[in-house]
Symmetry: D2
């Protein structure tokens, strides 16, 4: 991890139809450029007719200055040959992230605190909230807090304001228990992935009030799910999940308290992995290297 | 645990509307009878208007001989006063259990093996299967194996045979990956609780093929659920659940293998707890002491 | 939990040689006083010659005003008869807790944050630190921060200052990654239990540098342990432990980061349970109800 | 997993000082031979002066017939250039494994059962035991059971018999709760790795009676550890560990029962990973890909 935050560390993430020689071609090219592979993960959904995914982290002296050259070589030598989708990132340049919250503080504060202690390789662009409650908490971390009220009548205007703040300004939007549904229009225009933390072990208990539903159903474990947001509510690709054991003696308030611990842990892992380019979307699922 | 398998150990399980003085009345009566409380667990769904549950394990010299007397005293002194449902069991008399299986062996063998080593306080009445495949495995444990084929045309006859074998003969029926749906009629007539192991973390992935569904949805944990069987498929009160971490790299066959370990662990815990009178049904949920 | 924070809720914790009729005598007395038992947990180390422990939570109208009377009755009617050690607490009066910290913030901030959101039934008397680094963080929670520098030459003076601040003022001292060893003299004089979080799965890796030791030994799980402090370093009764999975690829810095999450979770549970009178010391171990 | 059991699948495991171009050289060579990489894992203990490890699974048509050629090319083109230790295995040829047991059945039966259902890619050469108790259980799986009694006086003769049975005949020896200590002499001569399951979360509770020690120390989790056996008892490289939560109410017999579940799960994972060439020894630790 630390290694990846030094200068001259590149991450190349690729996806293409599985075929012979991809690993060799990629590692060859990196060696030819003078790079040294630090870690390499790959996965294929099947040897024949499958989809191939690879994340390669490599040290390349002078990366920042040579970036255009490297991208050109990847495009001309690999991308066309293998019908490859690819992304090259400079590990020393953290992703810019906007955090959305409402009134609940546990996920937001945990992300801010982990970021402050250097555990999350990101830069926090701002916190946007439809409520003013958490402003002081956020400012204490030296992060800009923007209050954009949302109600039934101004939803479109609020999203326009969101887009003005975010578009071409952030690499990721994280909904840290933001209690508003984003419109398909917003999702299309924001041009950055949007991640959400859902307070249940999806696909169980979709929609609102999952802890009450969990109590009613009498489950013995409750959980949380970090996923990318799509137009289909609670149906987006799952990045990370976890659960905690509960008992008949725990009421909904207690489930909510236990759940908060799972939510903040799950969301922080998902954000970290995304910011390290470990998560690749594949249809309605994810590859997490 | 061991303590409870000695002679003269009684278990009293009660349920009644919550009200003042229940614990005192029960423990008083036990003291008056000359008994000594070993463990006592209680739970109330709410102080006012709630339901109260208690499991009391106590040592009572001469229990077997005094049983009618004790039951009479409980009925006359406690049951009417507190509108109480209650059950008294002699811990030295293990429950008689019938195991149902089909072709899959992991849950069945694990129960047989745990029983052989003395970990499950039950007596196995027989194993009933709609397939002959596991006969030899079962007989090796000294347990009777009864093959009752089931097909579209003989389902009623098969269930009649089941009832003939089970009625007034067993205290519990355990479906150890039995791949047939029991009719409401059977459930009503069998006069013993029926427990099932479902190969998913309910209420996620109800119905058939849960591991395929889990793969398609891209969950990061898979699980299993032991529950009492009701007329509503996969909706009965949950007794125990657990999960195991999986990754994008695990195919359905691998999920099935991992899941088998969770299934057998969850089912064996549920069976053990039931046989120790730790599980109380409460509407669509359970209390597990 | 919530229930226990209402007025008129008492907790009676007892320990005595196991013998007939304790549960009945206690519940009888509570019923006689007009109380209603909410939860009751008990444990015996053995039916014959064992030690018996019980925690009883009960509702008693007018508890605060009747406290002296109740204590008198317990002493005269129960304590002498059963050679009982006992403690009665009013659940509405949270314990006063002093937190000790050094430079590391994760355990301290987690306790402060959980306390702010109402999850920890305690009152924070103050934070005492041998370093000034965390002062601002602590004050933001409205908690007094007291800097008591400790070095080789002033250790006795520092502990005298600690005692002046704590004696007869707090019910519990929590070492939230406080990096100084307390003297036997301090432990004897402080007259309050002292709890510590050790950053390993004790008894593995006692002493300093546990994450380095864990790396060197190549363990596949790392953990943390909350325990009461005794004169024997890292040997006090364990209250709570947990672990997290790691791999060969995690360096010591990464183990330390993972470990921090386990440490703060384990310590917060231990503090919560202690403040709810759930933890009873028994020789070098604990009973946790 | 399944993929790796088809014909023409090779596994190449290498270890060498970390340096530029290893991944490229290996993948190049595989491509040149006409192979296709299926999975590739690598790890370096440090970019400068570190040790590099890689496991590469690749499809190579005609592997069995071309094996000598492939080994020659690896030796001449890779091994000398990178000062590499390496091993090439044909995934379709399962490792030959000898299982050692005494009287306790849970680890042994679990391995036999998992093997029968096709979950463990190995061939069981025989079961060797110093007690006859488990003979019938073993034979039922169609596996040869060899009783080699061991007592104080015949230990050398017993080990000579072990060596006669094992030498040049097996690829792995698994001690499935074998209750005898193997001599350094045996370990040196057997010329196959020896794996043991220790019934504690090492390095806690080394030596005999770990569950009693765990009870005495009052730990809240107990565990098990699979490790390679070295001359230093309980000090060999750890392959896998896991834990389970226990409470003050569990006596040593109950800890032993809970522990048995952890032991068999941990050992079966370690055996599986070893047989898939996923485990590389590195000093006193392991890399597990």
């Amino acid at each position: 991890m630390n290694t990846e935050q030094r200068p001259d560390i590149a991450r190349l993430v690729i996806a293409c139809p599985d075929q012979h020689g991809i690993v060799a071609a990629v590692s060859d090219l990196i060696a030819e450029l003078g790079g040294n592979i630090i870690t390499l993960d790959q996965y294929s959904t099947g040897v024949e007719g499958g989809q191939f995914f690879q994340r390669t982290v490599f040290h390349l002296p002078g990366l920042a200055a040579r970036r255009t050259e490297v991208e050109h070589v990847i495009e001309s030598r690999l991308a066309s040959r293998f019908s490859m989708q690819w992304q090259l990132t400079d590990a020393s340049r953290p992703k810019r992230v906007a955090l959305f919250a409402s009134k609940t503080d546990h996920c937001l504060l945990d992300l801010l605190w982990r970021h402050r202690r250097g555990d999350l390789p990101m830069q926090i662009a701002c916190v946007i909230s439809n409520h003013p409650d958490l402003e002081e908490d956020v400012r204490r971390f030296g992060v800009e807090f923007i209050h954009v009220p949302v109600d039934r009548d101004n939803k479109a205007a609020a999203e326009a304001e969101h887009l003005r703040l975010l578009k071409d300004n952030v690499d990721l939007v994280v909904l840290a228990r933001y209690m508003q549904i984003l419109s398909p229009d917003f999702l299309e225009q924001v041009r950055a992935p949007v991640m959400n933390i859902h307070h249940s072990f999806l696909p169980a208990f979709v929609g609102a009030g999952p802890y009450q539903k969990a109590k009613d159903r009498g489950v013995k474990l409750i959980g949380a799910t970090a996923h990318y947001v799509t137009e289909d509510l609670d149906e987006g690709p799952i990045i990370e999940q976890d659960v905690i054991r509960v008992s008949h003696a725990d009421d909904v308030a207690q489930l909510t308290r236990y759940g908060a611990d799972v939510e903040r842990a799950v969301l922080s892992r998902a954000v970290k992995w995304h910011c390290e380019d470990r998560v690749i979307r594949h249809g309605s699922t994810t590859i997490v290297f």
